[in-house]
Symmetry: C2
Subunit: 349 residues, 2 copies
């Protein structure tokens, strides 16, 4: 079996870490022997924008639809291209048009990582983030100018979108520690969040053997710092998921390592796998970027393709590399991108 | 000079910690000799609701307007009264009707507290939260039912409200380390947050000698865990401020100690001083609650009345008490509420 993957290395260190992760994924496929990857690279991103005035060609979405999945590095060069152009012209555009309505981001304390928490207690949780609507709805406007100006932003929650995220979270909890926490704020936000709570309670009835807890986002953010080990699966709106996953990266000890998957769970269009970190223009091109976030992202693609055992193998190889102390500068080590990639390849063997 | 203070002990441990803080404030006034407090207690809250069907009398707001300031304990007994009733019938009602449009919450690493962070590096920042509009606007609705249901929440940002919070933050920075961070999310939320950024940039022009930084809320939440010492004053919307202040409490080592002030900075109505912690019904009535959050809240009232030196004295007495190891159970100690209050009184001398 051959998987046809569209590759968008993007900007900055994306161009370095993506090839490293591809090496790892090819190695995995070769060791397994039952499938292979066929990678097709697209040079879209900020350089492309500076040349053409577009982040990707007009028929970019159409082109991507011809592939099984999308493997993306990082997008953004804020000094040269305003963020709203680079993000909404590529990253968010793909999320939306490919209906990648679920964003999955794990946070796990790995051996060899230095958490900023005194007692991180081996936490291991996954945030299931609604990825298509909610607070990120492009709906709103302004009225009046000067001192009278008013800006309105509409957060839009559909039952379909909300249910989808919740069912996905409950199904995931079945394969884990059977515990789902819903991130809410119904004590302060009085239309969308009570609706969110209602849907959570309703869908929860179909999963009576899964523990169900609701926490307000303020308390939940604090809990991730105080007792992250209490969480298994967290289901959250677009904005709350965004905040909680960065916190997840922070308590892991590095945002440079956190992976993410933007899933079209109906599998009608390709899903997109992209690490949480950005393009880090300041260290790009020097061979010192940390490839582990991109490699872990590759593991999530393996999972989504159904190769869970291989995915676990990759994560184990990442952890063994860290435990050996083979780390790039962002993790306090002196290893190069090449050293780290080689160590992961060696541990896969 | 006599300050007439309306006291609402509220529910649970509020009824214990408020008298303790009043003892401390009376002591401060007595030591100073130039002013005194006159306290008038109102038994409003969940018990009152269970008897009368209301959290406070119909003319409650009118009554409170007759006082200089409001000193509140904690509100809520979720097992007996739904949160939306107890909060919107008292706490949020007072915030709104008294136009307490600025919420100020400091976070500071105190000696003797056990931060969950490995290297808390002596952080000391204040969050200035817009307290009257934004994501908490009571505006929105639903359409359709069943599978087609859609809920909409409108976040409403006025220039007046946004400017007020920002100016307050910049003015505060003048008295501190001259650094303001704005919490935004204009890369994902495309109507309200670009407006927020514009106002920040505009107001910032009047404060060119103050350092100005904008951080997206996801990164900012992560930074509070990774390098909280980098922040001085943070200005945030209602929701973002809510999240950041709970994180502030968490990294201090206890939400039980964090204070808050809901300010009517125009001083046309009373302001309200309330700790961040809740009513903790599980430990109420046993004399073991931690009074330090309420006492620190008293310090914020002293500050607002213009007695900054006395406020500092109170905070020093709190810190000296903690440094001595006189702590209640929530902080890992064995002291009672009485022990802690006595120690603070002793250190004031
Ligand atoms: C209880 C709730 C509505 C409130 C808020 O979000 O404002 C609380 O979390 C706070 O921060 O005072
Ligand atoms: C860049 C930004 C729009 C994006 C988001 O908020 O979704 C990012 O923070 C993320 O989490 O992938």
């Amino acid at each position: 079996k051959t998987y046809r993957i569209a590759v968008i290395p993007g900007d900055g260190i994306g161009k370095e870490v993506v090839p490293a992760a591809i090496e790892v994924l090819n190695k995995v496929a070769q060791l397994d022997g039952s499938f292979e990857f066929e990678w097709t690279e697209f040079p879209w991103g900020c350089d492309y924008y500076l040349e053409t005035g577009k982040m990707m060609p007009d028929n970019g979405i159409g082109i991507l639809k011809g592939y099984d999945q999308i493997f993306l590095g990082a997008v953004g060069m804020p000094d040269l291209v305003p963020d709203h152009i680079s993000l909404w012209g590529l990253l968010i555009k793909i999320r939306r048009e490919m209906k990648q309505s679920i964003n999955v981001r794990p946070a796990k304390l790995l051996q060899g990582l230095h958490s900023p928490l005194r007692n991180p207690n081996g936490f291991d949780f996954v945030v299931v983030r609604e990825n298509s609507e909610g607070e990120y709805a492009e709906s709103g406007g302004r009225i009046h100018s000067g001192q009278d100006e008013v800006a309105i932003q509409n957060a839009i929650f559909t039952r379909k979108g909300t249910e989808r995220a919740m069912r996905y979270a409950f199904e995931m909890a079945k394969t884990r520690r059977r515990h789902v926490t819903s991130a809410t704020k119904s004590n302060g936000i009085t239309y969308s969040m009570p609706f969110w709570d209602e849907v959570f309670a309703q869908i929860g009835k179909d999963y009576e053997d899964i523990e169900q807890v609701s926490n307000h986002i303020d308390a939940l953010a604090a809990f991730l710092v105080m007792k992250p080990e209490n969480f298994d699966v967290i289901v959250a709106s677009n904005l709350f998921g965004d905040i909680l996953t960065d916190l997840g990266g922070a308590i892991m000890g590095s945002i440079g390592i956190a992976p993410a998957a933007n899933l079209n769970i109906e599998r009608q269009y390709p899903s997109m796998f992209e690490p949480v970190h950005g393009s880090a223009p300041d260290i790009a091109g020097q061979g010192i970027a940390n490839p582990l976030g991109q490699i872990w992202t590759g593991k999530m693609m393996l999972d989504f393709l159904g190769y869970h055992e291989l995915g676990t193998k990759v994560l184990n190889a990442i952890e063994a590399t860290l435990a050996e102390g083979i780390k790039t500068g962002d993790l306090g080590g002196k290893a190069t991108l090449r050293d780290v990639t080689d160590a992961v390849l060696r541990h896969l063997q």
